[in-house]
Symmetry: C2
Subunit: 120 residues, 2 copies
């Protein structure tokens, strides 16, 4: 997972034949002192995703230690890979992630499936 600022590479990939729910983990490089600017940009962008069919939930995490490589990590759950792909194939998506302000925050997205789940 290498961080990118290229809008074309802001989308995580999956094998062609995968079907089922997916979890996106998107890690962001955010300089210390730039948290407010990042969270504002990220929140505006996340509004697009939250309105798309198949979106289930998200959590944006901030590292407790400043020297963590990726200080922000978004973990987002989608009902299906098809709906995740559809949300990343629109003109609105390209516009949202193509904003010049995003160049400051390289990201490293990857898709996962949940293999074990437990709750107290």
């Amino acid at each position: 997972m290498n961080a990118t600022t290229d809008p074309q590479k802001r989308t995580a990939l999956a094998p062609e034949d995968y079907s089922g729910p997916v979890t996106l983990m998107n890690q962001f490089h955010v300089a210390v002192g730039r948290d407010d600017a990042f969270v504002a940009l990220w929140t505006a962008t996340s509004e697009y995703f939250r309105a798309q069919p198949g979106f289930r939930s998200l959590r944006l995490h901030r590292a407790l230690l400043d020297d963590t490589t990726y200080r922000f990590v978004n973990v987002a759950n989608w009902e299906s890979i098809e709906q995740f792909r559809a949300a990343h194939a629109t003109a609105e998506f390209r516009e949202v992630v193509g904003q010049p302000a995003w160049a400051e925050f390289p990201s490293s997205p990857a898709l996962f499936e949940i293999v074990v789940e437990a709750q107290r």
Copy 2:
């Protein structure tokens, strides 16, 4: 976040003055073909944590693409940093993570706080 096989470094750190709930993200290097061995070892280890005071929930994720740097990521929520620390300060913890089998799976743990949360 550099991966380690050192049992002493298997614990994520937080600032001394932090208090409140924490989310652990622990990323693991797992060779393709070794998923079953990893999940078996991880599940046995997680039983220790699931029994500790303050444990809330966990999800073990597997990357959909084999060339993802860290193919497995555990995301675990704890009620407080104090309880997280206490769970990592016992003789049983050191025994569990000190198992020779763990040397095959370097991990890169980090602690986070949740800054934005949304659900459909």
